[in-house]
């Protein structure tokens, strides 16, 4: 009898302890519900209405999937999507390619390159600077008439015909892609390198003793082991890339001729969500959800691609 009350007592005391869990998680949960969950659901609700300009205390008028139909039929949205894919695609290929090459150089068992800690600091530096500062810096360096790039090229090659880097279609797209690469390749390199350093030296030595050459070691051991990291880099880069905004938004004015060739999906969204005179809140909400669905589908596809069984 005494024993059971003791256990009961102990149990109630444990529950009392565990109730602290509610207290500790409460500030997070309350803020999360207000500032994370509610806005996401609110945007979802708005995407089914006909709301154009937001005013306080106005009632919502639901019209079903009409805004989504508009999104799918919009040539401008499709073009913004194509722009995003081009700018992101060129960037991810060069960025991952460069990071991959660097990873190969620094992990090579034959050449044993030194100075990794210094090189990676320098390679990573551009990633920390605010995109606003980088965008303003390059829009000045790449200006057609007074930009330092053209000034230098003209100085070296007197016959050089000035390229309007940000004022013509492909140079503008590629400039933004390569600036993105410049900002992000150090980040990808660090991640790949962390993956390689996670590969146990024992594996490599064992393989080497068994007579495997460095290319065999690279292909059969290193590569498969860093595949999850490649996937992580590709997916996070995709999610970031689909939301590309600061850089093109600040580098190309909406009055510029190239605007329609570099307008990303996020710039398109911003234009309708917050742009002066172009605000259509409900439509912008539908754009946001469409964008999310696209990101989701592509992420899942990437996940399946990187996790596929090799036969």
């Amino acid at each position: 009898m005494e024993k059971t009350t003791k256990i009961k007592h102990k149990r109630s005391k444990l529950t009392a302890y565990n109730n602290w869990g509610y207290v500790f998680v409460a500030p997070f949960v309350i803020t999360f519900l207000i500032f994370s969950v509610y806005p996401v659901l609110r945007t979802l609700a708005l995407s089914f209405t006909d709301l154009k300009i937001f005013k306080l205390n106005q009632s919502l008028h639901f019209i079903g999937f009409e805004q989504y139909v508009r999104v799918f039929e919009s040539d401008n949205f499709r073009r913004a999507l194509v722009n995003t894919v081009i700018v992101w695609g060129v960037n991810i290929i060069t960025q991952l390619g460069l990071a991959f090459l660097l990873m190969m150089v620094f992990s090579d068992v034959k050449y044993r390159m030194k100075g990794l800690s210094v090189y990676r600091l320098i390679y990573y530096l551009p990633n920390l600077i605010a995109a606003t500062s980088i965008a303003l810096l390059f829009s000045n360096l790449l200006d057609k008439n007074y930009g330092t790039v053209n000034v230098m090229l003209k100085g070296w090659f007197p016959n050089y015909h000035l390229i309007d880097w940000l004022g013509t279609k492909w140079p503008a797209r590629l400039s933004i892609s390569f600036i993105q690469t410049w900002m992000w390749f150090g980040n990808s390199f660090l991640m790949l390198m962390a993956g390689v350093q996670g590969v146990s030296r024992d594996y490599l030595e064992a393989a080497s003793i068994d007579g495997a050459g460095r290319w065999t070691i690279f292909g059969k051991i290193t590569l498969p082991l860093i595949r999850p990291i490649m996937m992580y880099v590709a997916i996070t880069s995709l999610i970031g890339g689909m939301q590309l905004f600061d850089m093109p938004y600040l580098m190309i004015a909406d009055t510029s001729q190239t605007y329609k060739h570099v307008q990303t999906a996020m710039m398109y969204l911003y234009r309708y969500a917050f742009g002066q005179k172009t605000t259509q809140v409900a439509y912008a909400s539908a754009v946001a959800y469409t964008l999310f669905l696209i990101i989701l589908v592509v992420s899942v596809a990437q996940f399946l691609f990187f996790n596929r069984k090799e036969d």
């Binding site: 869990g21 998680v25 997070f28 500032f35 606003t132 330092t148 999310f292």
Partner: protein
């Protein structure tokens, strides 16, 4: 038994070329900053007609032009007023929640964890419009509340710290403290926080930099120039003809805007590099 292998000429040549290429890439990373720094000391005419590595003499003039138009240090102060509270709130409360989720058994624990996991995959884009309307309804636009308080709900931090606590905190420690009569919150402050501090520190540095550099949200939330954070203020220079006609002044603005983050990088580079690397390995 170590022996020095004799390397062929080809081996040494390849190695040399690799170093040259690596160094060239490093130069490519730094050269835009170098151009910026030199140009910040030159006049518009000098900038438009040629480039040298020798600094010019126009720094004081450029400085005057910049600070006649706006006070960049005010922007830095505003950025600090946003980034510091956001970082502290975004470290303390998520750590508390992570501890609750990792250590206490209560109803809804699993549910909260799954909701967090789902929300980590939702891009910020989705909440932007609803978030703005919420802030407008609460009449907190043009204040720093929308830029700081929501940091409490940093679900990524909760997720990461929960894993970290499960791996590094032994429940016996907390139970022993209970027997000694320690309160639960005391245990959190005196036992849990010291153990997970390395993780909190790395996340906080990256969080601070992210908040400091953030542009889109402050731009949407803040419309009064005296509230502008550094990135928003920097962009506003485009509406000043005084500055936009003086290329040296533009470069000077950009250069000044980068100084704080470069100082942070120099101070904390070790933590920053390890945090980027950890981010990959934890997956």
């Amino acid at each position: 038994m170590e022996y020095k292998a004799k390397h062929t000429f080809g081996y040494n040549l390849t190695k040399f070329i690799l170093y040259v290429l690596l160094t060239a890439l490093a130069v490519l990373c730094l050269i835009p900053f170098l151009m910026m720094t030199v140009n910040a000391t030159r006049t518009s005419f000098e900038i438009a007609t040629g480039f040298t590595l020798i600094p010019g003499k126009a720094l004081p003039d450029n400085w005057k032009t910049v600070f006649n138009y706006f006070n960049l240090f005010k922007g830095m102060w505003n950025s600090l007023k946003v980034a510091l509270p956001a970082t502290l709130l975004g470290a303390y409360f998520p750590a508390l929640a992570a501890y609750a989720l990792a250590f206490y058994k209560f109803k809804g624990n699993k549910t909260i964890f799954w909701v967090i996991l789902i929300f980590m995959m939702i891009p910020g884009t989705l909440s932007l419009i609803g978030f703005y309307q919420l802030c407008a309804a609460l009449k907190i636009t043009n204040s720093y509340i929308p830029l700081t308080v929501p940091a409490i709900a940093a679900s990524g931090t909760v997720f990461f710290l929960r894993q970290y606590i499960q791996a590094s905190l032994s429940p016996a420690l907390i139970e022993a403290a209970r027997i000694d009569g320690a309160s639960e919150i005391f245990s959190f402050h005196r036992i849990v926080i010291p153990i997970i501090f390395p993780a909190i520190a790395t996340m906080s540095i990256m969080g601070f930099i992210g908040n400091w550099n953030s542009y889109m949200l402050p731009m949407i939330i803040l419309s009064k120039p005296e509230k502008y954070t550094l990135p928003v203020m920097l962009v506003s220079l485009r509406s000043s003809t005084d500055i936009t006609q003086n290329y040296g002044a533009i470069y000077l603005c950009i250069a000044i805007s980068m100084i704080p983050i470069i100082l942070v990088f120099i101070t904390f580079s070790r933590y920053i590099i390890s945090s980027v690397s950890q981010g990959a390995v934890k997956e």
